[in-house]
């Protein structure tokens, strides 16, 4: 973007389309957060491309006054890969859900992350299949009662952030749909060059109402959420508790912080480039620990599309795109009126 970026307002990012989510759905809050964040990113609507798969969340592109592609179930990462390779200048956002990204599209999510395509992936996790009327999803907890699991689900859920980390993602964040911090997470994700994976806990008011309340509810948030910030100690419960390393078991533990002296309690200072700690934060069992929210991991490395562009340029260097010469390549012979000549 060489020319002066036009300053946009929230209104510039809204379409004239009627939003069709259930009243009270967490998707509304996420949509507003995105529309509110876009003007702050200094980007233009015409350079922005929202790509989604199938599911409630995947209606999202229709409501953004940008380019948008509502694709097929699970395949948004693959469509996004083609679009970004075709035009690396596009600012690509993938909107997906727990079923879309981790069940039918798990393969594409994995490969997009390992390739490190420069884009933002917003996974709306509501632990349920909403659009098909409430079946359990790959993130539903064991025992979830749904029309397809009337006696409760028996299979273990996938952890989206652990999946992302295992796939090689270099940016992993967690956010809550109605949380004001979502905007900051979006900004961090956007500033990360490479695949930025964001799990957003999203309340499905119809089929899985308040399933995240144990940590998302505002009144208990202080004790149930660990709000992460790079370079800051991992404190919660109004600074009275913190996360420290148990050196004997090489695992995390909750420690009490007395009189704000977190150093004395050996509370860990969050370093977003520390992959091992990111893994432990992702895997902290909720209940015994708070839920880690915010940017868990951020350590960029070169992106896929940049490598492709560079290799294409190198391979083409000094070569002329001469179609006739290409067709004539290899051993040829000429036939004249008198017959063939070697």
């Amino acid at each position: 973007m060489n020319e002066m970026t036009k300053i946009t307002t929230l209104k510039d990012w809204e379409t004239d389309q009627e939003v069709r989510w259930c009243p009270g759905c967490g998707d509304y809050a996420i949509l507003k957060a995105v529309q509110r964040t876009m003007p702050e990113l200094g980007v233009r609507p015409e350079d922005t491309l929202f790509i989604s798969g199938i599911g409630c969340s995947s209606r999202f592109p229709y409501y953004m006054e940008t380019y948008g592609f509502h694709t097929i179930h699970g395949r948004a990462p693959a469509v996004a890969t083609g679009a970004k390779l075709a035009n690396p200048d596009l600012d690509v956002w993938i909107i997906t859900g727990d079923g879309d990204a981790l069940s039918i599209g798990g393969n594409h999510t994995m490969h997009l992350l390992r390739r490190n395509l420069d884009c933002q992936i917003m996974l709306f996790n509501n632990e349920i299949y909403g659009l098909t009327k409430g079946q359990y999803s790959p993130t539903s907890r064991v025992g979830t009662n749904t029309p397809s699991t009337p006696y409760g689900s028996v299979d273990r859920p996938a952890s989206p952030c652990a999946f992302a980390l295992g796939s090689g993602a270099r940016f992993i964040a967690r956010a809550i749909d109605i949380h004001k911090d979502l905007t900051n997470v979006l900004k961090s994700a956007h500033s990360h060059k490479g695949a930025a994976f964001i799990e957003i806990f999203q309340n499905c008011i119809v089929y899985n109402k308040d399933v995240f309340d144990e940590f998302a509810a505002k009144k208990t948030a202080a004790s149930t959420q660990l709000l992460l910030a790079d370079g800051e100690p991992m404190l919660f419960e109004k600074g009275e508790k913190g996360i420290a390393m148990d050196r004997e078991t090489l695992s995390l533990k909750v420690v009490d912080v007395v009189d704000g002296d977190w150093q004395a309690a050996n509370v860990i200072v969050h370093d977003v480039t520390n992959r091992s700690v990111a893994h432990m934060l992702i895997e902290m069992p909720f209940g015994e620990f708070p839920m880690a929210i915010g940017v868990l991991y951020d350590d960029p490395r070169p992106t896929f599309e940049a490598a492709v562009v560079e290799q294409n340029a190198q391979a083409a260097e000094g070569k002329k795109a001469d179609l006739q010469a290409l067709l004539n390549k290899g051993q040829t012979w000429t036939v004249t009126e008198d017959g063939p000549e070697l």
């Binding site: 015409e46 490969h111 492709v308």
Partner: protein, 629 residues
């Protein structure tokens, strides 16, 4: 001048002259038979003969040595007249081991020549080929001419100066054999020597050994002939196969996969649009991905995706972003791409999908040829999902078909299916190199300004094509997707009248492609008459030769070969009805036949073969005979 070793008539010192000769090289899959065949093809092409080849190899990369299922064969038919098929029956079989003999000898014409490497006919190899007795000794090959040569020993002798190990040295056996074959048919060795020197530039000993073996095989022919001593019951002679009359111009050999890749590049250049190719490895389609991966200077981006679905989905994403998306696979992969094809139809984006067909269903016969995906191409998607379908008939025809597929895709904003098959993909033939200046450009235009009356992403031109708008274009932001689109606006619209109308628009847009394609011609014979033999794809060769023979014999037969499978040429119905009978030879159980009956209510009769091998001319001859009586 070469003369025959054993001649009935001693008066002639001239080589036997043949109109065409069919040679099959057969050996273990590690013996380098495809390479031998490929080089023999090159020297034959350079001599100006017309030719067609048929590589026939196992699905296993390196099957256990000496086994029946590990046999790899390469057949070439070359002649001084137009050659359309790889030949029904070989005249010469070169068998590098007992298994190769066993699996190929029955195809040899009676009286044909077998050249066998007797050094490989020990007990172990005979057991592996399930021979109880040595066929070279027990008289079981009496109806053919047999030449036993210890090619292994002769090769070892020839390459001795290079000091290679036994195993390494024996790798040159194929070059020894090639040398003999070049002598037999009076072909030049130099192009192959040049090629070996280039290929093994970094391994001069290996190059030297191979060249020595090549020369030794050639010298063996000369010496054996001159010395005139007995070579068992063998009949070693040279045969002159002259140049075929062909149009003046520059030629090269080309396989279907090469020609198709070149055609895609040419098509993209003519459309003035960068190409994005998404592929996933699958036999026999991978060669296209390999070829295109090396052509970055033509603004080609290739992407090996994580699966077949991602390959087409990425191509669709690239098309949305303004490049020409192309994807390629074979039947099983095409099945996986089905849903995404529907998305391309619904979002009306240009896309080319190539199916290199193979034997099916399921994994089927990965390395064998079949044309049984026609239903899949025309009908194989959910919903009313019309898509233009084109079928290439030969390696060189694949070039033109690829350009045509690109043209239809960009002019009509639609996915297009291009059908080829394993036979076309791997077979080589001489190709008159097109003059690029004679190819007509069809540059695309993108909508890049707000039209009067506002943006309507689903408005249409006279071809019913919607505008192609690249993301990044100011003011023209819009959303597309797989949900039914409102007329003109492209907004989500579930309305019943809208769906009726949009379904009709999609149908009529694709049917309208018929306005831009030529009328169906008659490839051979008269328009109207007793019998039409109607084919599509790689059956062109055997049908054409069989019909030629019938026409030359004064029979009222015509050959019609359909390139545009969907929509079909506008005159096709009338044309078919002008014959008393219509037969449709296909390498499936009758798929084009069904389509013709459905479209035109003609009594098309199926002639079917699904053995994994192409039709022989004799099989089509027989069908013609039966249907003329």
């Amino acid at each position: 001048m070469a003369t025959a070793l054993k001649q009935d008539d001693n008066s002639s010192n001239q080589p036997e002259s043949a109109e065409n000769v069919v040679v099959r090289f057969a050996g273990d899959s590690g013996d380098g038979m495809q390479l031998t065949g490929g080089q023999f093809t090159l020297s034959t092409a350079l001599a100006g003969s017309d030719l067609a080849t048929f590589p026939d190899f196992p699905a296993e990369i390196r099957a256990p040595q000496g086994t029946l299922f590990g046999v790899s064969a390469f057949q070439i038919n070359f002649g001084s007249r137009a050659i359309e098929t790889a030949g029904d029956e070989p005249d010469v079989l070169i068998a590098m081991n007992p298994a190769a003999l066993k699996t190929n000898v029955d195809a040899l014409r009676d009286g044909g020549l077998i050249i066998a490497d007797s050094g490989e006919f020990g007990k172990r190899n005979l057991d592996k080929a399930k021979y109880e007795n040595n066929p070279l000794e027990d008289g079981s090959l009496a109806k053919w001419q047999l030449l036993k040569l210890d090619i292994s020993a002769l090769t070892l002798e020839a390459v001795k100066p290079f000091g290679l190990g036994n195993k390494e040295a024996l790798r040159s056996k194929n070059m020894w054999t090639l040398g003999l074959a070049l002598w037999m048919f009076e072909r030049e060795r130099q192009p192959i020597i040049d090629w070996l020197n280039t290929k093994f530039a970094k391994l001069p000993d290996v190059a030297g050994a191979n060249i020595a073996a090549l020369n030794a095989g050639h010298a063996y022919g000369e010496t054996a002939e001159l010395s005139g001593d007995g070579l068992g019951s063998g009949h070693l002679t040279t045969r002159k196969v002259g140049a075929a009359p062909s149009a003046p111009g520059e030629y090269r050999t080309v396989t279907g996969a090469e020609a198709l890749s070149l055609g895609l590049v040419a098509g993209a250049q003519l459309a003035d649009v960068p190409m994005f190719f998404g592929g996933y490895p699958i036999t026999p389609a991978s060669a296209i991905l390999h070829h295109l991966s090396r052509l970055k200077e033509f603004d080609v981006t290739t992407f090996q995706a994580e699966d077949e679905i991602a390959a087409i989905a990425a191509a669709i994403g690239a098309s949305y972003a303004g490049k020409l998306g192309i994807t390629s696979s074979s039947g099983p992969g095409i099945a996986l791409k089905g849903e995404a094809m529907g998305l391309a139809i619904m979002t009306e984006l240009p896309l080319v999908i190539i199916n290199s067909q193979r034997g099916g269903p399921s994994t089927g016969l990965p390395t064998k040829t079949e044309q049984s995906d026609l239903y899949q191409a025309v009908y194989g998607r959910n919903g009313d999902a019309p898509m233009p379908v084109i079928a290439a008939r030969s390696p060189s025809d694949a070039f033109e078909c690829a350009i045509e597929a690109v043209r239809i895709a960009v002019q009509y904003m639609t996915p297009v299916m291009l059908l080829t098959d394993g036979y076309i993909a791997n077979a080589a033939e001489p190709w008159q190199i097109p003059d690029v200046a004679s190819l007509e450009p069809f540059p695309v235009t993108y909508l890049d300004k707000m039209p009067e009356g506002g943006l309507k992403p689903y408005s249409r031109d006279e071809k019913f094509a919607r505008p192609w708008i690249k993301p990044g274009t100011p003011e023209l932001m819009h959303r597309i997707g797989g949900i039914e689109k409102g007329i003109d606006t492209g907004h989500i619209d579930y309305g019943s009248a809208n769906h009726q109308k949009m379904t009709e628009i999609r149908r009529d847009k694709v049917l309208g492609v018929a306005d831009s394609i030529p009328d169906q011609d008659v490839a051979l014979g008269n328009a109207g008459g007793k019998l039409a033999v109607v084919g599509w794809g790689s059956t062109y060769g055997p049908i054409h030769q069989a019909v030629r023979r019938a026409v030359e014999a004064g029979k009222d037969v015509a050959h019609i070969h359909i390139r545009n499978i969907w929509p079909m040429p506008k005159n096709l119905g009338e044309l078919l009805k002008s014959y008393d009978r219509v037969i449709v030879p296909e390498m499936n159980t009758g798929q084009l036949k069904t389509l013709l009956r459905d479209q035109y209510l003609v009594d098309a009769k199926p002639i079917n073969k699904v053995s994994g091998q192409p039709f022989t001319i004799a099989e089509i001859d027989a069908a013609i005979e039966e249907n003329l009586s």
